[in-house]
Assembly symmetry: C2
Homo-oligomer: 215 residues x 2
Amino acid sequence: MAEETVHALRGVSVTVDQGEFCSIIGPSGSGKSTLMDILGCLSRPTSGKYLLDGDDVSKLPDKRLAEVRNKKIGFVFQAYHLLARATALKNVELPLIYAGAGKRERRKMAEEALDRVGLADRMGHRSNQLSGGQKQRVAIARALVTNPSLILADEPTGNLDSRSGEEILEILETLYQQGNTLILVTHDNKVANRTNRIIQIFDGLVDSDMVNTPT
Amino acid sequence: MAEETVHALRGVSVTVDQGEFCSIIGPSGSGKSTLMDILGCLSRPTSGKYLLDGDDVSKLPDKRLAEVRNKKIGFVFQAYHLLARATALKNVELPLIYAGAGKRERRKMAEEALDRVGLADRMGHRSNQLSGGQKQRVAIARALVTNPSLILADEPTGNLDSRSGEEILEILETLYQQGNTLILVTHDNKVANRTNRIIQIFDGLVDSDMVNTPT
Ligand SMILES: Nc1ncnc2c1ncn2[C@@H]1O[C@H](COP(=O)(O)OP(=O)(O)OP(=O)(O)O)[C@@H](O)[C@H]1O
Ligand SMILES: Nc1ncnc2c1ncn2[C@@H]1O[C@H](COP(=O)(O)OP(=O)(O)OP(=O)(O)O)[C@@H](O)[C@H]1O
Ligand SMILES: [Mg+2]
Ligand SMILES: [Mg+2]
């Protein structure tokens, strides 16, 4: 087929202040993951700009950008992106290795993160020896292990039963209460209803952006 | 860590008759995908047996087993398992190529299957150029394209918004009304409530197995 340009985002302007707890909802294919990749400094917009804590991200040198991603941002990917043959523990240690944490400290922090998401008894399993929801929880633990101040979670409960999903939501609410900034993409209205602001995306545009009173 | 044996299923006895519409629910890690892999002839139980239409699957020669999988069973995997660099169309054509369908016929059937899941405008995209929910829908189209009589879907709506999820559920309900047998693993109680029988798995055992009156 001929080269076709997909306008995944067609003019999105959003400001999120420190300490906000937002959800992004919208139909499959509407541009949510594309937006999250830009917010997570994983993708550059083809036009427009992204200011993170006042810095124009496109003007930062690559090395500085990688530092920002590693220290400020925790990203839970919709497709997890774990190392299949590394253990759950190793996967969660990775961001700490990159941040230069010592061997003992990073092991301890990774174990605590896995324990917090209910995987204390699966730390030694390779990620390809885990169930779908267990992989999702390893991805969440990895995103939180460096105590980032901006948490971007793309559909963090999609493969979890309601009880495990509730446990994850409580972890995220605690992080919000501690002053961090959280943006969750979700298809689950129960999750969106627990956040303070719901941004609806439709066909690459912001369709609505409303305050929500968590129920 | 020492070699540890995980008993993913610890004694499950279930009979599903032709034409039933069942859902399997249960916590993350409880053994649902393991059970589905056995039902789909992708995995042999370490003890016990699996009779499919009266045949003991463990006694079938590999070639016959592959034929059964290709002609009788449509499987939607929890992790999709698409070929990343093949187009959506090619991915959906694969089971038809294996079944020996002619080039024109398989293209037509694959296009129809993709259209039915709302992806008519994404057929030429490679699967690594699709959103999470679009990949999920390609996996569903691929499972249904050979008109199998047994449909096994492991969390088919996990990455879909409620409207796309509803469209998929209507496709599945139609297949059930046409006399096919459907078994869906789901974490979504709204999906489970649309089936006629809900089997609950907990820690590798059947916890309950109840008739449901769809709402
Ligand atoms: N290859 C493997 N080696 C060892 N243990 C495994 C392997 N694959 C799965 N397991 C374990 O078997 C158990 C059941 O896994 P299964 O994938 O069937 O769970 P599930 O009910 O589908 O969970 P989910 O809802 O999270 O998808 C899990 O605790 C998992 O850690
Ligand atoms: N590499 C790519 N090349 C071309 N088009 C792409 C690519 N990646 C995504 N797209 C398209 O861009 C659009 C937006 O994709 P995106 O992943 O942001 O959607 P989404 O809102 O996250 O969807 P979902 O809810 O299904 O995860 C989709 O229609 C998709 O087909
Ligand atoms: Mg997405
Ligand atoms: Mg599973």
